[in-house]
């Protein structure tokens, strides 16, 4: 069974009198357990495709099914998909609440989904990304960029998703820190059944991580390897 099945995906919006077509007739399939890469320059439409899969971009047309469920445009993800699909963002600072402690940031998804043993699960999640429990009392601004990104990954993994969406997860980081994050993602994949979709402008990162990749240019898929 495929985890993601997209056909004929189109996205356009109106800017003044012009119609801007950002995704044109994109079709792709991602299989169970794959690491799938979307590569392209800025403005190629790769992040838009990812945001549609995450249910963050609602204005599209075509056919999209996630984990066997057909999703509809203009509707947010429903039910179990909200747990089973998680995302890690490019700028961890912008995606972590600046005045909440790390512990609170990580507890929130568990509370929202009515999970028991919140404290133990947060400690486990922190350990998985290489932190001790003491970091839970810190605020995001007290962490380095790489540490924040590890928190972003911990948060995404807390609900045990089947599909993890990674939007330029290491573009804001030093190469040395990038290596630590990519290793973490590789190790996580060895310990549980999970599918990754990785978006990056960096061909080397995609080549290192991905089993299969498509390249996008001006909204279209131009090559597949």
């Amino acid at each position: 069974m495929s985890v993601v099945d997209i056909s004929g995906l189109d996205v356009s919006f109106r800017s003044g009198r012009e119609e801007v077509h950002v995704v044109r007739d994109v079709s792709l399939t991602v299989g169970q357990g794959e690491t799938f890469g979307l590569v392209g320059a800025s403005g190629s439409g790769k992040s838009t495709v990812l945001r549609i899969i995450a249910g963050l971009n609602l204005d599209w047309s075509g056919k999209v099914s996630l984990l066997g469920e057909q999703i509809a445009p203009h509707h947010r993800l429903q039910g179990e998909l909200r747990r089973r699909v998680q995302m890690v963002f490019q700028h961890p600072y912008g995606s972590l609440h600046p005045s909440h402690s790390i512990g609170r940031i990580l507890s929130e998804p568990l509370i929202v989904h009515h999970r028991p043993n919140v404290r133990e699960r947060v400690t486990e999640a922190l350990a998985q990304v290489g932190f001790g429990p003491e970091i839970a009392s810190r605020k995001p601004h007290q962490l380095s960029g790489g540490q924040r990104q590890r928190i972003g990954i911990a948060r995404a993994l807390l609900l045990e998703p089947d599909l993890l969406l990674l939007d330029e997860p290491t573009s804001a980081l030093d190469t040395s820190v990038q290596a630590e994050i990519l290793n973490l993602l590789t190790i996580i994949k060895q310990t549980r059944p999970i599918t990754y979709i990785l978006v990056s402008h960096d061909r080397d990162v995609i080549a290192h991580m991905c089993d299969r990749q498509v390249e996008m240019r001006a909204g279209r898929i131009v090559s597949e390897t």
Binding site: A41, S42, G145, D174, T175, S176, V177, Q178, A179, E180, L182, N183, T186, I187, H201, D202, R203, D204, V205, A207, H208, M209
Partner: protein, 279 residues
């Protein structure tokens, strides 16, 4: 021997809110002539603060000490606030990372490039205009006359970066400091802009300090390289020899880059305790 840049025991520190002290640059010494010098290191290693200090642009709160701090024979330690504007532009040109934030959004390109010349009233208006147009042409921008009338938001990232290079070079400085000049650009543009920068520097006999986190870029385009870690100079040598460095920090920075060849493997990571111990 007269060095273009001579730095001995440069330390740049800040007082922290908790009453402590943060040392951004710690006892840095180096000298360079009209050559291409790369400074590499992770973020927070002090490479940008070194560049800003040489251009007199370190934050006001910075406490700067040095046994020697000279550019083109001028002792920067004696500079008063009014000495810097004359020095910048004519002796040192600076190119920053992001053209979108370094260019004035409300000024047309022509005025912006010309501004550097107006500060140094050697030329009349028509000569200034000629120099602006030839500077825009030298950085490979098409139709300099039309372009000079555009605002920064009408330019692409690559064009914006070329305008910045033109602005930095229009006054023919002796030293060009480029701080991550291509990091904000798409991959395909990076090499182009860097090759342009290097050829302009070479043809004018200038010195270049290229600050970059990209070791491959420095190895390819520079003569020599300094490697910084937490404010200290930990390794240096010929830029082309960066891949063969035996220093654990440099060697890991080089080896930790992902590629198709590393697919499915774990990448080497920095063992910071080993590096700290070697300082």
């Amino acid at each position: 021997m007269t060095d273009l840049v001579g730095v001995e025991n440069l330390t740049v520190g800040f007082k922290t809110a908790e009453g402590g002290r943060f040392t951004a640059v710690n006892g840095l010494s180096f000298a360079m002539g009209a050559e291409k010098l790369g400074i590499v290191g992770e973020s927070g290693s002090g490479k940008t603060m070194t560049a800003l200090t040489l251009a007199g642009l370190a934050p006001q709160a910075a406490e700067i000490t040095a046994d020697r701090l000279e550019v083109a024979g001028e002792d920067l330690r004696r500079f008063k606030a009014r000495d810097w504007p004359k020095f910048r532009g004519s002796v040192v040109g600076l190119i920053m990372q992001d053209p979108r934030s370094a260019l004035n959004p409300s000024l047309i390109v022509g005025r912006q490039v010309e501004e550097a010349l107006r500060f140094h009233p050697r030329f009349g208006r028509s000569e200034r205009r000629d120099r602006v147009l030839s500077a825009l042409e030298a950085v490979g921008l098409p139709n300099p006359k039309t372009l000079a009338g555009l605002y920064p938001h009408q330019l692409s990232g690559g064009m914006g970066q070329r305008v910045m290079i033109a602005t930095a070079l229009v006054n023919e400085p002796k030293l060009l400091i480029a701080d991550e000049p291509t990091s904000a650009l798409d991959e395909a543009l990076r090499e182009q802009v860097l090759e342009l920068l290097v050829s302009l520097v070479e043809s004018r006999g200038m010195g270049l300090i290229l600050i970059s986190h990209d070791l491959v870029q420095v190895a390819r385009h520079c003569d020599r390289a300094l490697v910084m870690y937490r404010g200290r100079l930990v390794d240096q040598g010929r830029a082309a020899d960066l891949p063969n460095s035996t220093h654990p920090y440099t060697a890991t920075l080089w080896a930790c880059r992902p590629s198709a060849a590393t697919h499915g493997q774990l990448l080497p990571t920095l063992d910071r305790t080993v590096i700290e111990a070697s300082l």
